[in-house]
Symmetry: none
Subunit: 163 residues, 2 copies
């Protein structure tokens, strides 16, 4: 194990970033969260995780989102192939998945989600996270349709919109 190879490649004065290539630390943290039972992180959790992992290297929210989707699906697929390999001790911290939350109360979704994060206590919210949260609530209640932004991010964000 000599030095870690840089994932980013210089290309005519730019950095070629085809797709996200997670570092070992990032994978470890994600794995820990997954083993802790996190399966479908909420928006706030994704935010928090992304912020945390960004200190280890380049990463975006969508990467975290996709990672959990893929990992969840592929663990299932592996379990089907190797029967009884894993003991049935799935912790299942049971993130309410936002649909269940809707079943309980439709209006207070955001506040409930926030509480859940505090309960998780894996990545305590940071100051700027709270800042973002505030702005979010405000914008959702005041502005109907305020955004016109760069297209690449937006396309992906649209896909993430159901988070």
């Amino acid at each position: 194990m000599d030095g870690e190879v840089e994932a980013a490649v210089m290309v005519s004065g730019g950095v070629k970033c085809g797709r996200w290539n997670p570092t070992a630390e990032q994978v470890k943290v994600l794995m820990d969260l997954f083993k802790a039972g996190l399966r479908t992180p909420s928006t706030e959790e994704i935010q928090s995780i992304t912020t945390h992992l960004s200190s280890y290297g380049k990463i975006e929210s969508k990467n975290v989102f996709y990672w959990f989707q893929n990992h969840k699906a592929r663990e299932r697929h592996h379990k089907k192939r190797r029967r009884g390999a894993t003991p049935a001790t799935s912790p299942v911290l049971t993130a309410p998945t936002k649909r269940e939350a809707k079943n309980h109360e439709q209006v207070m979704v955001w506040e409930q989600q926030e509480r859940k994060i505090e309960t998780l206590e894996l990545f305590p919210l940071k100051s700027y996270d709270l800042e973002v949260e505030k702005m979010k609530v405000k914008s959702s209640s005041v502005v109907p349709l305020p955004f016109f932004d760069a297209g690449r991010d937006l396309l992906l964000d649209l896909r993430l919109s159901f988070l």
Copy 2:
């Protein structure tokens, strides 16, 4: 109908609606677009459509996004169930679906998409759409990303928040 139905609930000075209920005009326009062959609108198209339809009532990008997903899928399903009900005259302007475009050339995807929009000519692009396009091209061709970009996640998350 004594109103105990919470179709819209006041919450911290805002109105929370259950789900999007499209107006007749909105549906008509979406139908027209669909019949014109639009199946998987790009981000810019979704933006443009949303902006137009918002003059008929409250609407968000994700509504447009979901509408096309569902309509496309359900037309298929109906065709399978009711054989020959719909004549096979699907115009299918064949939006390159971005994956096919990728097969041809990865770099010029956005420009191709734009051309398609102009071809459609149902919702001519507006000034801010062009602005967006310019920024997009610039960012993708000149500086994809420095090695570490901290503020990017935050902006992305911000946009994610109210989509």
